[in-house]
Amino acid sequence: MWIEALIAVTLASAAVVFLAPNKVAGKLAFVLSLLPVGGSLWMYSTYEASGNALLEGSTLAFETNYQWVVAGPYSLNWHVGLDGISMPLIALTTVLTSLALLASWTPIQERQSQFYGLMLFLEASLLGVFSALDFFVWFVFWEMVLVPMYVLIGVWGGPRRKYAAIKMFVYTNIASLALFIGFVALVFGLGDSVTTFDMPTVAQALRAGELGSLGPIGPETLKVAAFVAMFVGFAVKVPVVPFHTWLPDAHVEAPTPVSIMLAGVLLKMGTYALLRFNFTMLPDVAQANAQLIAIFAVVSVLYGAMLALAQTDLKRIVAYSSVSSMGYVILGLVAYTVYGMGGATFQMVAHGLISGLMFMAVGVIYNTTHTRMVSDMSGLASKMPFTVAVFVAGAFGYMGLPLMAGFAAELFIFLGSFGAFEGSVLFTAAAMFGIVIVAGYLLLAMQRTLFGPFELETDYEVGPAAFHDVAPLVVLILLVILLGVDPNIFFGMIQDAVNPIAAATGGGA
């Protein structure tokens, strides 16, 4: 019942904050958000599970499963539970939400109670996405995420917030349609043997090769078509080039805390779902088309990095670099090795923390300078040394500096994908070149904005940031270093959860 309690507490907090007066909403929301943080950490400490949630022979942590709705022959279950893939993401979600709430105190100055209420509502939906194991429940949460996100960008965003919010909503919603059709087609294709949307049941039936025809469509075609539909659906969320253009717009317009949530957690929904659905349920399709998927990954990495190099807005730089970093995840997933898929999952957490950190740091700078353009400022380091120090540390984390989480994740991915499939050596080597470009654009941006003589176009008084602005940055950088020094905090359970996928598909080391 712990997952239900976690979600319920978060939802109740959202309701309380929604009704609270504006003045206290921020502090109240932060304090209440510590409840799910504590809950998820307690769950982590008592976590006991083995295997992959979707495959046979697994025991899940905090699992509940009961029949909820029966419609004709089909039944919908309330099925939630955690394995080594979802546990780290749950922890990431709660921790990052709390820090994002703290980072909202300065930038959010109107309709606070609604803002903080929606943030907590968003958190509850995300927790649902990462814990649900029945497709229907999962899909409801998946769509529930969009609603607060749309409002958060559309109301508290920048000048072009409506465009960005609608673009994000419509784009991802169309993607949801594609994945919904894809998955439901698979369930119907399984015929009478599967009369539920329960993900483990469906996954095991699909892996056992029980897929039949759906109308005139044969099983092989159906498999590929469903894979494509779901891949596209999730690729928009990740986002994979060429489905990425909503992301920079959304990031630029979204207020800082929303950017943190968007980059830190929402993008991981896409890769998490890819891992759960495409790569777990249809491994043969993924492996048969490994090169094609790897091309998507490599293009995302290099093209995203090149785009980041061309940007002049700090937030756009970080936004495009997210595209680049998420490309690594795809590369790791398609490797079908423990290091590759485990590294991909680890990268979800690592990138969640690091990109959250970067957006937060850019936000702190924006709070004082009121500009994000690289050309508008220089020499900030002499005015706000603490913020700049953390920014620098975060940027090096993003570049994959050893003993920080990003390096561990990328290293695992490279180790896993090198030689994992035909041509993977070249794909891996090409993707790894991303670590040079990322260093290029981050160092360039830092040199121009943070160092040199102090100048600022916007003529605001620049001083050190407030404690509650810097504190979450410090917490994040410490977490990044902690995970980088000892990846086993999460990597052990991740390996345990991805091992069945890799082992069953004959992936090597």
Partner: protein, 679 residues
């Protein structure tokens, strides 16, 4: 249970790390509590490291295995054929020697910094000492790393520290830019290194340096056809694939050790404080690349093509950088190019099969180049931070301690007998010669290295004469700033070492007299069998030739290189040891312009970045905004447009709706009628 110094081995790196934490945290929250801005904890920590390193070296010498190795699993592999990632400590003669060098230079640089930074009233000292502490910790960890992955990780971390320290004066425009360039260029090399590390894992399943399951030994067994089988990729046979791996790792070496074509960052790195230049950009970090090759020499020795390439790159870099050093105006620039050139010699030595020779040069160079930089730092203090040699002159009388120490370093650098640089450089050239007699490529590399000796002698003494001899050319030079004990002590220590360190391995004397003087050979032969000098000597793919007799070859080699060094120094003496030296290099005309602009290498690389990569990025951005996002926006425009047309049916006039309703009913009736067969 390991003996005591080995138990304490992690502390060698941990002590400077603690000093980093102290400088960082106390410096940030309670700067007043920090004595000397963090220098005292730094000095104590590095001195502790030095003591422990020496103790460890002695213990290694006395240990029956000649080494100590211990590792912990960082990340355990899961599943079939998975490999563990490990952190380990490997103390053997090579690594303990390097540990002693690094910690010794680090102590001296910390002491020197008291004079260069504290006494000059710099701000941000905790940041400076934190950087030094972190650097020392990372560098020491790199040195005792027992596997390639750990080596790579700390290799990158020293890069970070280099960035932090080059950009120490971040309020000025120059240092941040130089720091960025240094990190980026070395990162480019590290990219290949990382691919190499991953490739070694995928091929051998381990990156350990030592033990029966270490990758050099596995590679040896595979190539010898003895059992061990490995996975190779890209359809290459083991020999070719190992060469690819060797070249990939070499990428990192070339970046870090500033070899052609990735040498351009090092001269720019002189923007950092001079003690940093001494510690990082001369004596230790730049040595990391060369040290890495020496560390996995058992692997490189199996790959003749890669070895030849290392020798060629080294020989070429030695000559190439030396020619640029001839025309520089700033004292630190001359030293920077000489550093590149000297690392070229080490690469030449390694590539030519002279493992001991290159290691020897690595050691002597660390002493005399740290000395020269610190000496230059002393001069810079005296000159109120003016680095232009043409503004100096006549400093000999004003600062004798600096002068004689600097002279000792210069004699070593130029390779004048009996200073340390002579012995080591001569041994490198000797190895290149004897192996080159049987291999034209090595001979070409040797020729370039030999030619560079002349230039080295010339630019070294041009620097000495311009700085210390003649008449003072500016008011500052007439009345230089005095330097304190904290500057002089490191200079004296290093000056002595630069003079005498060569005595540990006087090969030519040993050859001639038959007296056993090759102590470094013995030292490097004391380790475990697979890491010893004689094992490497068996592995190297070269035959040795000789001119006349072995004795004649030794004497000839030593004589030629000494003669060239002396003639270079003599030329400088003739031209520049006059009261009012003139700019003789102007006579080179356009050649000087080319040399002064570093063969336009920097321009080329800047063009690659600004002229190719950035426009490419902008094109990509245009493409992204125009085409990809254009399609997305196009889809929405089409829906909006068609919606805008279709909505016109909604006129708002009730009669129209009624009409449509009626018509709809009629059409429906007719349709049902026709299909239902009413008519």
């Amino acid at each position: 249970m390991a003996a005591l110094p080995f138990e304490l081995a992690p502390a060698i790196a941990a002590l400077p790390f603690v000093s980093f934490l102290i400088a960082l945290l106390v410096g940030a929250f309670a700067p007043r509590l920090l004595p000397k801005g963090g220098a005292i904890p730094g000095i104590l920590a590095t001195a502790g490291s030095l003591v422990l390193s020496v103790w460890a070296a002695v213990a290694v010498w006395n240990h029956p295995d000649g080494m100590y190795h211990d590792s912990i699993t960082w990340v355990a592999g899961v599943g079939d054929a998975a490999f563990d990632l490990q952190f380990g400590i490997l103390l053997d003669p090579l690594s303990t020697m390097m540990l002693v060098i690094v910690s010794l230079v680090a102590v001296l640089v910390h002491v020197f910094s008291l004079g260069y930074m504290n006494d000059e009233g710099e701000t941000g000292l905790p940041r400076y000492y934190a950087g030094l502490g972190l650097f020392t910790a990372s560098m020491l960890s790199f040195v005792f790393a027992s596997n390639l992955l750990m080596a790579f990780m700390f290799f990158e971390l020293v890069g970070l520290c280099s960035w932090l320290l080059i950009g120490f004066w971040f309020r000025e425009p120059g240092p941040p830019s130089a720091a960025k360039k240094a990190f980026l260029v070395t990162r480019f090399g590290d990219y290949f290194f990382l691919v190499g590390v991953v490739g070694v894992f995928a091929t051998f399943g381990t990156t350990a340096f030592v033990g029966s399951e270490s990758f050099p030994i596995l590679a040896d067994q595979v190539l010898a056809g003895e059992g061990a089988s490995v996975t190779t990729f890209l359809g290459l046979d083991p020999q070719a694939w190992f060469s690819v791996l060797g070249l990939l790792i070499l990428g990192g070496v070339i970046g870090k050790s500033a070899q052609f074509p990735l040498h351009t960052w090092l001269p720019d790195a002189m923007e950092g404080p001079t003690p940093v230049s001494a510690l990082i950009h001369a004596a230790t970090m730049v040595a990391a690349g060369v040290y890495l090759v020496a560390r996995i020499y058992g692997f490189y020795a199996l790959l003749p093509q890669v070895m030849a390439l290392i020798a060629l790159v080294g020989g070429f870099t030695a000559l190439f950088a030396a020619t640029m050093g001839v025309v520089k105006r700033e004292i630190k620039q001359v030293l920077a190019y000489s550093t590149i050139s000297q690392y070229g010699y080490m690469m030449l030595g390694l590539g030519a099969g002279g493992y001991v020779a290159a290691t020897f040069h690595l050691m002597t160079h660390a002493f005399f180049k740290a000395l020269l930089f610190l000496g230059a730092g002393s001069v810079i203090i005296a000159m109120h931070h003016n680095e232009n040699m043409w503004d100096m002159g006549g400093l000999k009388e004003k600062m004798p301690v600096t002068y004689y120490a600097f002279l000792s370093g210069s004699l070593a650098l130029a390779g004048i007998v009996p200073f340390s640089g002579f012995w080591s450089k001569d041994e490198v050239l000797y190895e290149a010669l004897v192996h080159g007699l049987e291999s034209p490529i090595l001979l070409a590399a040797y020729a370039m290295g030999l030619l560079a000796v002349f230039f080295t002698g010339f630019y070294t003494f041009r620097m000495v004469f311009l700085t210390f001899h003649g008449k003072p050319r500016t008011d500052t030079a007439r009345d230089p700033h005095a330097v304190g004990w904290n500057v002089k002590v490191p200079l004296v220590v290093l000056g002595t070492l630069a003079a005498v360190a060569g005595l540990v391995n006087m090969v030519p004397v040993a050859e001639v007299t038959g007296i056993h003087l090759e102590f470094l050979h013995d030292w490097l032969d004391a380790g475990p069998e697979a890491l010893t000098a004689h094992h490497y000597a068996d592995l190297i793919p070269y035959a040795s030739g000789e001119i006349g007799s072995p004795l004649l070859t030794v004497l000839l080699s030593a004589g030629v290189s000494l003669g060239l060094a002396l003639s270079g120094a003599g030329a400088a003496w003739l031209l520049y040891d006059v009261p009012e030296p003139i700019r003789h290099t102007d006579r080179l005309g356009r050649v000087k312009t080319v040399l002064f602009n570093n063969y336009y290498q920097d321009e080329f690389q800047v063009w690659l970045a600004n002229g190719v990569t950035l426009p490419l990025a902008r094109v990509a951005d245009k493409f992204d905004q125009g085409v990809i996002d254009g399609v997305v926006n196009g889809v929405s425009s089409v829906s909006l447009f068609s919606g805008g047309r279709i909505k016109r049916i909604q006129t708002g006039v009730v009669s129209n709706y009624a009409f449509l309703l009626t018509m709809g009913l009629v059409v429906l009736l007719v349709f049902i009628g026709v299909t239902g067969g009413w008519f």
